[in-house]
Symmetry: C2
Subunit: 257 residues, 2 copies
């Protein structure tokens, strides 16, 4: 399996076709997995915004005050308002805003970015990353005649472990996970609950060759990944009734109120 970055992409602007920009620079093959950073997907989709677009509600003011009190960090209440509007639920208001985005991803600040956004204050995540992945996939098929998988990726922190790692937000042309249940170990014992979140692992692999900042290359290709003969699943975001941690965070926030 090979992982490489697509070099030479320009700064992406509102209205650009990500598929076209990639197709001009990458010699893709059938079966490739193309990992596209959500930043450029958002830029092409016009998800740039300014703080002035988000007049702060009472709740946003309260969140900003709480973060100042607990974390000692100045947070613009309009930023908190942008997070509220991008979210289905706010799980914690302080020391940081942990939010459930409308498409199910749980991340700090609903994934709203304040760096790498020319001419705007903020960059929101794509509204529907799987729809974006499907469009890019169709565009690559059209431009290059290839059948590839596309993953719209982000980097995100996580409970229990420090640091960020690449994750999938949306995907097309590949199931989110492969299912080893029902298969056996060397002793013939059935494997336990083993569902492998391959799109997240592919996003992580891609992130190793892309990187952040000025030298960042927002598109990586994984070539030669073999999904194999397994059942697939498209469930990646934990449903609420199977999410003990979400439950605990709600109670914890409630106790603090």
């Amino acid at each position: 399996m090979e992982v490489f970055a697509v070099e030479g992409l320009p700064e992406v602007r509102r209205g650009d076709s990500v598929a076209e920009l990639v197709a001009e620079r990458a010699d893709l093959q059938d079966g490739d997995v193309v990992c596209v950073a959500s930043t450029i997907v958002s830029k092409a989709a016009g998800r740039q915004a300014d703080l002035a677009d988000f007049p702060a509600s009472e709740r946003a003011e309260r969140i900003a005050d709480g973060i100042a009190d607990i974390a000692g960090e100045e947070k613009d209440p309009r930023f908190a308002q942008a997070v509220i509007e991008a979210s289905e639920e706010i799980l914690t208001e302080a020391p940081f805003i942990l939010a459930v985005t409308r498409f199910g991803h749980i991340t700090v600040n609903a994934g709203i970015d304040r760096s790498n956004v020319p001419g705007a204050d903020l960059l929101l995540l794509p509204e529907d990353p799987t729809d974006c992945a499907e469009r890019i996939r169709a565009g690559l098929a059209e431009h290059l005649g290839v059948d590839v998988a596309v993953i719209v990726t982000d980097t995100s922190g996580r409970p229990f472990r420090l640091g960020q790692r690449g994750v999938a937000l949306g995907w097309a042309g590949i199931p989110a996970a492969r299912d080893w249940r029902g298969e056996s170990d060397r002793e013939g014992r059935e494997l336990g609950a083993t569902v492998q979140a391959v799109v997240d692992e592919l996003a992580a692999a891609g992130n190793l060759v892309t990187g952040e900042g000025a030298g960042g290359t927002p598109v990586a290709v994984v070539r030669g990944f073999d999904f194999g003969d397994h059942a697939g699943s498209d469930e990646l975001y934990r449903p609420e009734d199977k999410d003990v941690v979400r439950d605990a965070l709600r109670e914890w926030s409630h106790v603090r109120d």
Copy 2:
């Protein structure tokens, strides 16, 4: 960057040298990252155990009863006892046992495995995965004269997202994370809190080519990963005072008691 599995490893037994087994089968180069599944590290270190080794305490009986009540799953109280003994803290007793291992990893059942363990009921995680990684690294240097990095890996579930993905338990010859803080975006704005947990991403990349079950190959090599000119950090496990989720789970468990 290239990722490939090391083929032809035999079933690993107590007392085997993992470094020797890998050195005989892989043509390694300086700078390679060798991802070794904790299962074979544990087997070589004699971490096989039987349920009979863990007479159930009152707490273990209570945990097994709670899991039967809440999750409707029969759990052997001796298994719960094994988890208790491998852990520094039990964060949740039901619907599953979420434990902090003595070396800081937070995972269900303290990572104790019930499949792929010939001649024993259980396989415990290595006691000190970073020490294991250092020994394997030294062994590979001795046998092949190469300077490689070694990551002892596991697959593990996580909050918010379904499915398992490869993670690092211990590492040697590479920092756990690379630090992009202080570097700038294309507009010259400083990047925010961007510390990339590269050992986890490398473990995830390796896991894409290894796999579970009878056909599983427990060692993968990542070739051509460029750490680049960044500050490194060896902090991967979140310290307690920076772990809101751990805090919330403790309160949640307390409320349920």
